[in-house]
Amino acid sequence: MNPHQNTLAVTDDTQNALLRAKNITRLYSSGKGCREINFDLCPGEVLGIVGESGSGKTTLLNVLSGQHKPDSGQVLYTNKKGDAMDLYGLSESRRRHLLRTEWGMVHQHARDGLRMNVSAGANIGERLMAVGQRHYGDLRQTGQQWLTDVDMEPGLIDSAPSTFSGGMQQRLQIARNLVTGPRLVFMDEPTGGLDVSVQARLLDLLRSLVVELGLSAIIVTHDLAVARLLAHQLVVMKDGLIIEQGLTDQVLDDPQHPYTQLLVSSVLTP
């Protein structure tokens, strides 16, 4: 440690960004949506997006995750091989392939992310089959392993998710998404609608998966405590715009924008 040694440990990380939002705008006829969104997400990093309902969080997530084309702006992604690509410059089929292989999407409502009437094992196996695995025994074994990894009984592999509790469905959704070893996971209010104790289990699971698997994630939440626990970088949205962004602790402990100050002071323990 020599003060004159001028090594740059953190090189220009934005060059290695996994996902980059460049001036994204998507508006609905009502004028709602998101406008002029810019940020970079690096490998291993978790980005939190907070804001009240109607602030454009979910619209933004849909654009970022390849589900809705923006009116203007770009979503740039660097894939496993290191190729940079413009998400909406890809063909529909290549975009879908990316979604199935390198990305995961955990929906707020498990029914949007699961097939409710096929077994838990089939839900987990579906993504594996989509990337070419066919061996039934392997699929089943992987399925059971993942159920264990998300704190579920492996014996539940033949049960349909419609028979599960909300927390179990959410964990199954996570297993289904992580089975193909994605590099980036999008989550829309992953703990919304769950009991506090179930939330805690899920949060603990998400946190350890991020640390152990080196995942990157973009998490939309209205819960500032969830953001504090999981996010390295926080974005605050209001009326479709990012009004504040930066280090999570800094945004929550020293908010600059009047709206963020209000948001932080309105909760019991941020």
Binding site: A9, D13, E45, L203, D249
Partner: protein, 245 residues
């Protein structure tokens, strides 16, 4: 992260450099009230020493510590910290650089443990090493060693600290804070709710950290503890903290 070729001091043991730091909080929802907490703070902390922040409560000691950790933005002036990978200028550092500095080089022990639901005391303690990519066995051994030194009963190790007493939580927090040999450490009343036996352990840990070269900035309410670890003091004066509207 900046590299400063025109660095003014020639002392190569400098670790923390604060120049003309000012910090004012503006409360937009309370009539734009302005609370000037830090005014023209200048201080340097060197390798192997403990600088104690002293002064009456409400004079900005904790604010300074939290500014050094990056929780508060720099109002004006400059704050630079030398970590394992060179200087980080907190004035201009991106969130990514601050996270990097914290993970590898900057330790922080507050009075309160931020409890993570469902995570056991042992795992909470192991975390800083695991986040470095250290192997679990080594992290576990070190965590057990520190929890034992700090007299955290073994039957508590596997339980989440949410239900522990204040003193027990604080000892878990201290164990966690000393898992890594950080070159710079910030301590905010680490002995606040400890008995004298455990305070002694913390004093030993601080002195060991100094001996290996850590630069430490701390707030210690307990005068005896303060006298046993402090090399120098930085006095905060009573300033008029009335909101200016």
């Amino acid at each position: 992260m900046t590299t400063d070729l025109h660095y003014s001091s020639s002392d190569s043991s400098l670790r923390v450099d604060v120049q003309n730091l000012c910090k004012t909080f503006v409360l937009h929802n309370q009539g734009q009230a302005q609370i000037p907490v830090l005014q023209n703070i200048n201080l340097q902390v060197f390798e192997g020493e403990c600088l104690v922040l002293s002064g009456p409560s409400g004079t900005g000691k904790s604010t300074l510590l939290r500014t050094l950790y990056g929780n508060y933005r720099i109002g004006s002036g400059q704050v630079r910290i030398l970590g394992h990978h060179g200087w980080t200028d907190l004035t201009s550092a991106a969130h990514r650089e601050i996270n990097h500095l914290r993970r590898h080089s900057l330790g922080y022990v507050s009075q309160f443990l931020r409890v993570i639901p469902r995570v056991s005391a042992l795992e909470v303690t192991m975390q800083p090493l695991l986040e470095q990519g250290e192997n679990k066995t080594f992290a576990r051994e070190k965590a057990i060693h520190l929890l034992t030194c700090l007299n955290v009963p073994e039957q508590l190790w596997s339980l989440p600290p949410a239900t522990f007493s204040g003193g027990e939580q604080q000892r878990v927090n201290i164990a966690r804070g000393f898992m890594l040999d950080y070159p710079v450490m910030l301590l905010d009343e680490p002995t606040a709710s400890l008995d004298s036996k455990n305070s002694d352990v913390v004093v030993d840990l601080i002195n060991q950290a100094k001996a290996r070269g850590a630069a430490i900035v701390g707030i210690f309410h307990d005068e005896e503890v303060r006298n046993r670890v402090a090399d120098r003091a930085f006095n905060f004066e009573q300033t008029d903290l009335q909101p200016q509207i």
